[in-house]
């Protein structure tokens, strides 16, 4: 233990003796680590944002539709499939005990009017009373759809925040007012709270109506998706199996045929995102790691110089009993200190830089423990990798030659 503290002391002495040299050497490492940390933070930030957006879809919600979400441009293979209808909805409701919430959704885009005011291209979504349990919407005003309204095709609507603000004056009571959706009179029963956007598309330019009402007017033209959520997230896989069985039965898929429907989830989208961006991200990290490589080479160069400068010192230390490992450790620790100091400063600079970039540009950043650990491991391995050769050279010096060195 004693020789370790001695080595550390020796390393510090030699570093403080050549301050400028130590600073410049560390600077290389600082820049290298800072670059990597900045890039990793920005990438992590981007990934996190995308992941958060996807999780808006619900981490334990399955989406049943005719087309899969990820089709790699081969959508035509699925064109022949029968559309999803309310038959499937009823089948799921009656035959899947794990399905706690079963919600149909289908959209149309149309104009909405109230008196003189008009909102164009509003997303009108047909759904049922359970919609808020899966989508987590809260009402600012009024109430949600009821089963009765769903069953009896009532003309009622819940306005999105943006639609409400366009159609009504601030402070106007929208409840029980009749608005025109595609020239049909519909009664407003509620207003949703602001929901924000999903990948740049506003979710507040939306109106919810009973699915059956929408079906009455748009019938077969609707593209229906059924959202299904289990009671608890850990039953997701059981639910998936139940759904497959129920859907195959109701759609009369023969046993030798493949499923003629798709069960989608957010993780498939996430996988797809990861797959497409992985190569790019890896390339960026690799390019930024080059700076660290160059910094490491700088360390090796300076360590070699310092070994040859201190040949005499090594000779003396060996002559009075220092072992090979002692010399080796002394120089390795010197390299490690350089790299660690550089690593800590570099990490701080990197996080600062990433934060700055996300302030002035729309690119988000995340301070990740992963990046910090990576930086530590990186700088340590740089120190060991580039320090071992000079340290080994010092350790192998013959004390007799070294003492004579001028």
């Amino acid at each position: 233990m004693y020789f370790l503290s001695e080595s550390i002391k020796a390393a510090f002495t030699s570093l403080t003796k050549h301050k400028l040299r130590a600073i410049l050497t560390t600077l290389g490492i600082i820049i290298g680590i800072a670059t990597i940390i900045t890039i990793v933070s920005l990438i992590e930030g981007l990934n996190k944002t995308v992941k958060d957006q996807f999780s808006q879809l619900g981490t334990s919600v399955l989406y049943i539709s005719k087309y899969p979400w990820v089709s790699h441009g081969r959508w035509y293979e699925y064109r022949k499939r029968k559309p999803i209808t309310t038959d499937e909805l009823e089948a799921i409701e009656s035959r899947c005990p794990t399905a706690a919430y079963v919600v149909p959704i289908a959209d149309i885009y149309t104009d909405v009017k109230y008196e003189e005011k008009k909102s164009e291209a509003v997303q009108v979504t047909g759904t049922n009373a359970l919609y808020p349990f899966i989508q987590g919407v809260n009402l600012e005003n009024g109430r949600f759809l009821t089963d009765f309204e769903y069953k009896h095709r009532q003309r009622v609507a819940i306005l999105g925040w943006e639609v409400y603000n366009i159609l009504f004056e601030e402070g106007d009571d929208p409840l029980d007012k009749w608005i025109m959706i595609a020239n049909k009179k519909v009664k407003v029963i509620g207003v949703m709270e602001k929901r924000g956007s999903f990948f740049g598309e506003s979710q507040d330019n939306q109106i919810l109506v009973p699915f059956t009402t929408l079906e009455k007017y748009y019938g077969k033209r609707l593209y229906m998706t059924i959202m299904v959520m289990p009671e608890s997230p850990d039953k997701l896989e059981i639910l998936r199996d139940e759904l497959i069985i129920a859907l195959r039965q109701v759609r009369q898929v023969p046993s030798w045929e493949e499923n003629d429907f798709s069960i989608n989830g957010q993780e498939a989208l996430l996988d797809e995102y990861n797959k497409t961006t992985k190569v790019l991200y890896a390339a960026m990290i690799a390019i930024s790691a080059l700076a660290l490589l160059v910094g490491g080479i700088g360390i090796m160069n300076i360590m070699l110089i310092s070994v040859s400068e201190r040949t005499k010192e090594i000779g003396i230390r060996k002559a009075i009993g220092a072992r090979k490992t002692h010399i080796l450790m002394q120089f390795l620790i010197e390299a490690l200190i350089l790299c660690w100091v550089g690593g800590v400063i570099g990490a701080a600079v990197g996080f600062g830089l990433a934060g700055f970039v996300s302030l002035v540009t729309p690119v988000p950043s995340a301070v990740s423990v992963k990046a910090a650990i990576m930086g530590f491991i990186f700088s340590s391995s740089v120190a060991i990798f580039f320090g071992i050769f000079p340290a080994g050279k010092a350790a192998r010096l013959n004390p007799i030659d070294a003492l004579r060195y001028e």
Binding site: R21, Y76, M284, I297, G298, N301, L304
Partner: protein, 413 residues
């Protein structure tokens, strides 16, 4: 006499510089290596960016400089408009062609362009998703399609709704796997019989590698069986050098056709291949600058390495500096000596880096689907950049060397 002295001085400096580098080979190599890696990163990335950009330009100039696209939807989303607005636009009619031809004197020809995707069958085989391009005889003027066998579409094919098709190489391979002559054979597209009248040459595609199987049919036939599509586009060719005028004429004609009022925006899009290229390079340029910028950081670190080693060299050679100064060398000579040493080191690093880039290019060209070319200006910039790094990072240590007091320097041990 004066000239001779100058030349002598330069030669002298170079000799001293190389002596300085030679005495410590390993150190020289390691110092150079930093710059080498930096130059490989910067020039390598620059080369990739340049080659990729060139490829994109080539891909999008198929259209030719006199042609533009008229479409219901923009080529790329996200320029202010939302897809909901585009979705609501009326669809295009094939009749627009006649109107445009009549009202736009600067338009030479116009070609409808519509994609479908259907199942296709020959006697032996079938394709699940055959891309169908419905067009007219002009399509061959605009595209890079070359006929390998048979014939192109002609005007009468469109006029008389002939069920004929031209297959691309891939579709031919799948539908006629036994090498028989596909010309005059019958195939079924979405259960409708078509006669094969031509086969296209194999295209050397770069992006996406594998090209989809595709067939070209007369648009009148497609319209007859499958109705008006949402994705109908027109390729419009202007008279030579009249593209600007032709575009304006087409915009006016289209606004009339679509019955737009004065205050309404265009509910169609018009773009030339130049506009597509500009839009793409706007995105890619930012990406290139970021990537090359990141690569340049390693060059910066290499420069710092040079500075560090030069400081060491100056300290080590304090006595030498003292001797040189006392024998009559000026401060300027010392400055030049160390400055040159740093510059030579980094330039050598740069040259080695460039050689590595060339080697990587040769290897890369074997594996990448597009050709990589190292542009000459990038080579020159690379060398200049390396030299510049040497000067910038060498000047400070050299200055310090030149300011040494010869009396103290001579005494240095």
């Amino acid at each position: 006499m004066n000239n001779y002295l100058t030349i002598h001085k330069i030669l002298d400096t170079i000799k001293i510089v190389f002596h300085g580098i030679r005495t410590n080979i390993l150190r020289g190599i390691l110092t150079t290596l930093g710059v080498t890696v930096g130059i490989v990163a910067v020039v390598g990335m620059g080369t990739m960016a340049y080659s990729f950009q060139k490829e994109i330009n080539a891909q999008f100039s198929v259209l030719g400089s006199n042609t533009f696209i008229l479409s219901r939807q923009p080529m790329m989303m996200g320029h202010g408009g939302s897809w909901r607005d585009y979705w609501r636009r009326q669809r295009f009619e094939v009749d627009y062609m006649d109107e445009i031809m009549e009202n736009c004197p600067n338009v030479k020809s116009i070609t409808p362009y519509l994609w479908y995707n259907f199942k296709a069958k020959s006697k032996h085989e079938e394709i699940e998703g055959l891309g169908i391009q419905a067009s007219n005889e002009n399509v061959f003027d605009f595209s890079s399609y070359k006929i390998a066998d048979g014939r192109f579409l002609v005007a009468s094919d469109i006029q008389y709704n002939r069920n004929v098709c031209i297959l691309d190489h891939k579709a031919t391979e799948i539908l006629f796997p036994h090498g028989e002559d596909p010309i005059e054979q019958r195939i079924k597209i979405n259960n409708i019989p078509f006669k094969v009248i031509g086969v296209l040459e194999k295209e050397t595609s770069t992006f996406g590698g594998e090209q989809n199987a595709m067939a070209i049919i007369p648009y009148s036939v497609a319209e007859k069986y499958w109705g008006r599509g949402w994705g109908l586009r027109f390729l419009v060719e202007a008279l030579p050098d009249r593209i600007e005028q032709a575009m304006d004429e087409v915009i006016i004609a289209m606004r009339n056709l679509r019955g737009l009022r004065l205050e309404e925006d265009n509910d169609f899009e018009i773009f030339s291949s130049q506009m597509i290229r500009d839009a793409i390079s706007k995105i890619t340029t930012i990406a290139y600058i970021v990537i090359i910028g990141i690569a340049a950081i390693s060059l910066l670190v290499g420069g710092i390495g040079i500075m560090n080693v030069m400081f060491v060299a100056v300290t080590e050679r304090t006595k030498e500096i003292g001797i040189r100064k006392s024998c009559g060398a000026r401060s300027k000579d010392i400055l030049v000596q160390f400055g040159t040493e740093a510059t030579v080191l980094s330039t050598i690093g740069g040259i080695i880096g460039l050689l590595l880039v060339f080697i990587l290019t040769i290897i890369g060209n074997r594996f990448l689907p597009f050709e990589i070319i190292v542009p000459a200006w990038l080579v020159i910039t690379g060398i200049l950049f390396a030299a510049f790094v040497g000067i910038v990072f060498g000047i400070f240590p050299a200055y310090r060397a030149s300011k040494k007091d010869p009396v103290i320097a001579l005494r240095y041990e």
